[in-house]
């Protein structure tokens, strides 16, 4: 049942295996996924930066007794940007958690129908509504030149708020890509890529 593995070899897929259905890709989805995959990978490096900032804050407090309001803000700014961008990255890699009690017994076509209807009726409307509040939310912050509410904090709070519409825009793209994969499977449109090697 469980594969016998040499304990010295790390498990595949970074400890967390791929546990999802593969739908056939098409040129449009392929392009979207590539972009989001690269952006997501790029932003993943922020975690190392956050670790560095935290170490610097902890050491700095003892070694130099210096203030940390700004460092605290840098920590959550970076982490916030990373997880917001990560939302679309996770959709592309299909790592959002599902209750698979019934789902795993569905045929691939049934799964594609569920996925397509879910995207059309649940996720995409939600994302559009989210943008309806996020774009003005960012825009007013930008016009006000919003800064941290802490006098010793970071300037340009509006810049981080830009990540709300950005992240949900990417999420909308990712949802579109997934939607097209479903239509490729169900209706043959857009035509599938001959060599499907997205993962």
């Amino acid at each position: 049942m469980s594969e016998q593995q040499d304990p010295s070899t790390p498990p595949p897929h970074g400890g967390v295996p791929a546990h999802h259905t593969e739908f056939p890709s098409n040129p449009i989805s392929g392009a979207i996924d590539t972009v989001i995959d690269r952006v997501g990978f790029l932003f993943s490096w922020l975690w190392v930066v956050v670790v560095g900032v935290i170490l610097y804050a902890v050491i700095g407090r003892y070694a130099f007794g210096q203030g940390s309001v700004m460092l605290e803000e840098i920590e959550w700014h970076l982490a916030g940007a990373a997880w917001l961008i990560g939302l679309s990255y996770t959709l592309v890699s299909d790592d959002h958690v599902r209750v698979d009690v019934l789902h795993e017994h569905f045929s691939l076509r049934t799964q594609a129908w569920v996925e397509m209807l879910g995207l059309l009726l649940l996720l995409i409307p939600f994302l559009i509504i989210a943008q309806d509040s996020m774009i003005p939310y960012f825009w007013s912050s930008f016009l006000q030149g919003e800064e941290s509410q802490a006098p010793a904090g970071l300037p340009a709070r509006w810049a981080l708020k830009f990540f709300l519409p950005l992240a949900f825009g990417l999420l909308l793209l990712a949802a579109l890509s997934r939607l097209l994969k479903c239509t490729t499977l169900l209706f043959g449109w857009p035509r599938p890529r001959r060599q499907d090697n997205t993962r």
Binding site: G67, S68, E72, Q144
Partner: protein, 338 residues
Amino acid sequence: AMDHAAADPIRWKMPIAFASKLPGLGSPSQYVAKQLDAASGGDVQVRVFEPGKLVPPFDILQAVSDGKVAAGYTWIGYDQGKVPAVPLFAAVPFGLKPWAFASWYYWGGGHDMLQEVYANKGFNVYARLCGVIGPETAGWYSEPITSLEDYKGMKIRFAGLGGKVLEKLGASVTMMPGGELYQALQTGTIDATEFSMPAIDQILGFNDVVKYNLFPGWHQPFTAQYMLINKDEWNAATDQQKALIETTCTAATMMGLTEGEYKNGTVLQNFQEKGVQADQIPRDILVKLQEVTREVLQEEAEKDADFKRVYESQREFQEAYKVWDKRAYLPADLGEEQ
């Protein structure tokens, strides 16, 4: 009295920034809601939403201005990042006493200036003073403060302009959230924290972990809360409804102030019985803190025209008031010498 029944009844949602059970800080919001309902016979209904239930506390101004909710009740200092002048209306280091601040607000043009300050930054709100509490304490400390040097390297949680003052004096200032304070004080991650007045601090249990509660609250001699109302909603209200709301807020201000004043003495005495040292910060240190505070406020004034205007108006009143303030009140320690 029948004609006003034709006016649209008011049904406003009002998110708040502090739990409504917190004396003085949050309790006036419930007072306002109850009084408005009762006094209007149900014509003006305001429904209070506890912190986080609807609008996160930091975004109450924006949500009210955008008309997502008709009203909000908050400590407007949270919006310093958007409206640099608001701290002057919310809490001013070495600023006025609560009733003196109210005097300036009601009689010295403060109310009108606040409307202008919001309008100048493009916010579509009508703001009304709706609660003031007395001084906060200067905070909870693991060691007493005996000299200015003590601030050097002190790890302290301190919000607002006061935090900037302490950074200038060499303290390591953090803004860690209220939820982490108890443990951080206990383990020594921080050496000190300010929070609020005794009746509120006791809920966070600081007296369990550190023994020095220092006074006076130089960084926040008054703390004011406001009812923010979307300007369109306000304009749509009848004169009668407006008068009712303003009167209720004025009453709430008195109720909130007196609630804190009524409770703090007992709580502080209770602290002392549990071994808390309720000490004064030495006068020479206060003098220095005041100096640095003036520098910080001056810097802020140079960055924002509204800040400058409001600050000067307050300073002017403070100067004129001093001669009266210094002599008019009985010394608090009168009769203590046996």
